[in-house]
Symmetry: C2
């Protein structure tokens, strides 16, 4: 999708749809500041000519390297007290995709997904996926690394459900779109449960028209085929606003709530959600980043 | 989706898109006979008022209980010599779905998927999915049960790629659609690799308009979001013929080949494929079953 005229790059991120619980109220400023940092970094990359895959993976890695969000280091814990993580990345120009589910050791699950982007395989699961990531040079950690005191306490207390999932969609200066999503799943989920995040077409999607990253009730997004449905509507001529609204209607029809971020090849952005909050932000070349955290 | 007037039930099955290799040439009659048996059994169930989920799961179980097909007992083997199996089932009326990936012990992976249909979880993976299936009463087998001399020889010889996957889509007398798919994956695949079969919206889909089961190059079907795309087109007014052709065009655009079976709520059937063969058949109440095996 290289074009003679350079596009104005765009980056959009989310940090999970959910409730405006005690946890987020206490961290509103921290979350706001961190999302601005992510957009500054990723915006800088895109301005320097980095591609949409690198930028979206960087955004997701950053959000997975702090305890503020339910991905990577901040992952919610399974019922057995372990962290199991999933992630996916997709490039719109050729629909190359990489995804991993049920990782217990990759420090950055999105990096493990990135390893598969140029591979014959798209999706790998469990210990084999961790081994594949290790062989690709992805930093490995014992599972205890992810079992933070904060998440241990939340599991023990039966706290508010964690806002799920972090994600990013980017448009680079060559006009290529990409989407990346990473999650620690649902607090207390049975080991082996996988939500929509690593499922191409459910929680993550990119083609030549649109890039999408979802968050919310994972099972409902799977049963709605949410991301692929929105993309099919965009391919049929719908705006990203109309397409994402229709996808959330499908999610609602199977009893789910959540949100998604979508970015079109023309740079149009939609960030709808049906939960009380979805911390999110966007950056377009030459304009200050916009970040929304509270309800 | 109960209606006052009973629908004429329909069943459609496939036994994998692929080449018309030596293996299939030698077994053409056996495959033809077996697919007729499956349609007879399933047609009988539907005529007696059984629902579409039960019928499609029965069809897939039957095809997974013989060595003729790449699912259940006939599963292709991974590079490490083990069998890893995946399956999914979806009900169109409420989009309930159950799916499993990377099973090594469930005798009928489609039964393991069925266990999740009424659960909160949609997708479970690996050993945890096998344990969940066991807890639900699904017969467990040591992995060696699936490691047949035939498949061991094929792995050692680097034989023709196995025709992938078996699937069924059914419409019951109450007008409910369902889809079920089961696979042993690709011969020689790395353990942990998962294709399109258990991914709702990629290889398996059912809603109130259409039920779909796919087979072929799994990664291409994932990157095409094949089943969900076809369903979105049907929801938008396309015929199942047009929608499935468009989905296979998307699969081809990312370099893949394969086929799919689709059945609409009106009883319209499409069974297109871009490989040399896709053994397949259909049954409609009051008419003799039709089966196509050879090229």
């Amino acid at each position: 999708m290289e074009t003679a005229t350079a596009c104005a790059p765009v980056a959009v991120i989310h940090a999970g749809a959910g409730t405006f619980g005690q946890d987020l109220r206490a961290q509103t400023e921290q979350v706001d500041r961190f999302l601005r940092e992510v957009l500054d970094r990723v915006g800088g990359m895109l301005e320097q000519g980095d591609d949409a895959v690198a930028a979206s993976v960087c955004a997701v890695s950053m959000m997975g390297s702090v305890e503020l969000f339910n991905a990577g280091l901040g992952s919610a814990l399974c019922s057995d007290g372990a962290a199991e993580m999933s992630a996916a990345v997709m490039r719109g120009s050729d629909r190359a995709a990489g995804a991993v589910a049920g990782l217990r050791n990759a420090e950055h699950p999105i990096s493990a997904a990135l390893c598969l982007l140029e591979d014959r395989q798209v999706l790998m699961i469990g210990a084999a996926a961790d081994r594949h990531a290790k062989a690709c040079g992805v930093q490995q950690r014992p599972n205890d690394f992810f079992v933070t005191p904060r998440q241990r306490a939340r599991l023990a207390a039966g706290a508010d459900p964690d806002r799920g999932t972090v994600g990013a969609v980017c448009l680079d200066s060559r006009g290529t779109l990409a989407a990346a999503t990473s999650t620690g799943g649902i607090r207390g989920q049975p080991p082996g449960r996988v939500g929509d995040t690593p499922l191409i077409g459910a929680g993550t999607w990119a083609d030549q028209n649109v890039a999408i990253s979802c968050t919310g009730d994972g099972e409902a997004f799977i049963r709605a085929g949410a991301a692929r449905y929105a993309a099919a509507l965009v391919a049929g001529g719908s705006s990203v606003d109309a397409a994402t609204a229709a996808a959330l209607t499908e999610v609602g029809a199977v009893g789910g709530h959540g949100g998604l971020i979508a970015l079109s090849a023309a740079g149009d952005v939609a960030m709808p959600f049906t939960t009380p909050v979805m911390p999110r932000g966007s950056w377009t070349a030459g304009r200050p980043a916009e970040v929304f955290v509270g309800g």
